[in-house]
Amino acid sequence: MTTVEEVLLTPAAEHDVPTGRTWLLHDSWTEALRHLRAMRRSPELLIYATVQPIMFVVLFVYVFGGAITAPGYTDYKQYLLPGIFAQTVLFNSSFTAVGLADDLTKGIIDRLRSLPMYQEAVLVGRTFSDVVRNLLTFTVMLGVAFAVGFRIEGTMAQAVSATVLLFAFSYAFSWIQALVGLSVGSVEAANSASFIWMFPLTFVSSAFVPVETMPGWLQPIAEHNPFTIVTNATRALYNGRDPGSDLWLAWAWAIGIALVFGVLATRKFASTTGK
């Protein structure tokens, strides 16, 4: 026992550890595992993350549903729910900002940056674990949508294509949120800074009402909003229609945002220290 103790608190004879690009996956997974374990321990966070989309489904379907008609759709639910799916997975990207801000204020980012790990794995692991969280919320929401009468009318392939697109888009936004989380000084600030701008983004779009019903000056904004493009593409796919150019346009947006903000967030990370 004493020998173990003596060894424990003495410097190792050999300090060099293997490092380099090959460790990106290993370290990202290690970091993701940290978040997934913590997530499993506090299911209440998951519950809160699902309550809001359920509320939106119920409110829009039953409160506004009777007053809103969507051209081309006999049932508003078929029009609305893909929009709510898109909004929910996008809103969930704010977990990335809040989680990083939390790590930052607690000094965990400082510790991680002082380790011989592949540095960017901190961001990759975080965004990846947030996708897993998002999948769980999405599954619950899909169940609720079915309960209120939503049906997937497209093929299996179309439904998968729509879902993958939604998650790709949300993952791209995670990198915007990573930048937000690393830039603000506190968890509270991350909470609002990651969320506020997503309201106009998702409401000034085709998600809830057809763009043609908006005032003339707002229409071009709503029409070119990437969120409208993603919503239109997924809505078409879930309803078994042809998404046309919206599908590849939406992918172009997702990839573009991921690349630009991936670079910005990574750069920011390399110079970020806690308070």
Partner: protein
């Protein structure tokens, strides 16, 4: 070769100069206390040495490895315990340790083994399976330090490790640091507590406003201001200045009046036999006193003598309340200490104050 070398470190944040050319080194197996008030630049120096920040100028080495050129190699040799316990509250103690071990690229079984050993050593076996959220402040700090030791680092950085801890936890962290240093871990400890530096450090660097203003053992630093003091508490605060006039000829440094405006401290070389003399002289001058006492200098006194302000107060807003004797050596030292002035001196003269104060 020293285990840690900091050379001419300069770092600004916007218009704020956090470090204006700081040099120090730590010999292998030694513990260096970096002492200074809030905002003195201690944490900035630690962040540069631990690869978290790039300095605007200067060089930093760990075990001869340039941290700016080979940060990954440097990271493999250090352990960092920051100001706040950097533990993941959602994980158990064991999981926290294992997680860090995996990021040092240890295999799963080695990581588990190390985690278990450290939990035993740090008295956290029972808590090891519990989620950290329920830990006390002292337990978190112990876990935090254990995490920084998981790879048995060559150099350990402890940035204010006892700030915010209760006295008992503080004591146990001190004992732990003792043991680590006995085991041969080179340690750099920052603190704003003079007693902590006094108790733990082999050598102390005093940092104020981004400059290293003195270096030496705590004994050497105390000797520098005379080693001993005579302290007079007057009945009428108006008499404080007169005490300095009457007893000033015994002083070997700048006397100062405490915040209570009644207590006058005079650094002296030898305090023996001085109390009765002082009492007689004060009596002859007609000054009514509550108390005249002799005491050993503390690092508080040293800090005051060197910087002209107390250690715990905020260093940015104390220009106004400097005492009268402010044209003193310490003040000049701060102004004159150009970035190039190196505190790395030959052994004979370890105390690095740039001007003479005695």
């Amino acid at each position: 070769m020293p285990a840690v070398v900091a050379e001419g470190l300069v770092k600004s944040f916007g218009n704020t100069k956090a470090l204006c050319g700081v040099d120090f080194d730590v010999e292998r197996g030694q513990i260096l206390g970096v002492l200074g008030p809030n905002g003195a630049g201690k944490t900035t120096a630690v962040r540069i040495l631990t690869t978290l920040l790039r300095p605007d100028a200067g060089r930093a080495e760990i075990d001869g490895i340039d941290v700016l050129e080979q940060p990954q190699r440097a990271r493999a040799r250090i352990g960092l315990t920051g100001q706040y316990a950097a533990v993941d509250e959602g994980l158990s103690g064991h999981e926290n340790l294992e997680h860090v071990a995996r990021l040092y690229h240890m295999g799963v079984s080695v990581a588990r083994e190390r985690a278990t050993e450290l939990l035993e050593r740090f008295d956290l076996v029972d808590a090891g399976k519990r989620v950290v959220k329920g830990y006390s402040g002292g337990m978190r700090r112990r876990l935090d330090i254990a995490m920084s030791l998981i790879a048995r680092p060559s150099v350990l950085f402890l940035d204010e490790p006892t700030t915010g801890l209760d006295p008992r936890s503080r004591q146990s962290v001190w004992e732990l640091i003792d043991e680590l240093v006995r085991g041969g871990t080179t340690t750099l400890l920052t603190t704003q507590y003079l007693d902590e530096a006094d108790r733990l450090a082999d050598d102390i660097v005093v940092i104020d406003r981004g400059r290293a203003i003195a270096r030496g053992t705590s004994e050497e630093l105390k000797q520098q201001i005379g080693g001993e003091l005579i302290e007079v508490e007057v009945q009428d605060p108006g008499d404080a200045q007169r005490v300095i006039e009457v007893l000033g000829h015994h002083a070997c440094g700048d006397p100062h009046v405490g915040d209570d405006t009644r207590t006058v401290s005079l650094p002296v070389f030898r305090v023996e036999g001085l109390v009765p003399v002082a009492v007689r002289e004060l009596d002859a001058a007609g000054i009514a006193v509550h108390d005249v006492a002799a005491r050993r200098a503390t690092l508080d006194d040293v800090f005051f003598a060197l910087t002209g302000h107390a250690a715990e107060e905020d260093s940015t807003d104390d220009q106004a309340d400097r005492p009268d004797g402010s044209g003193d050596g310490a003040d000049d030292g701060r102004q004159a200490g150009a970035p190039g002035d190196s505190p790395a001196a030959p052994d004979g003269d370890r105390i690095m104050q740039e001007t003479e104060s005695s």
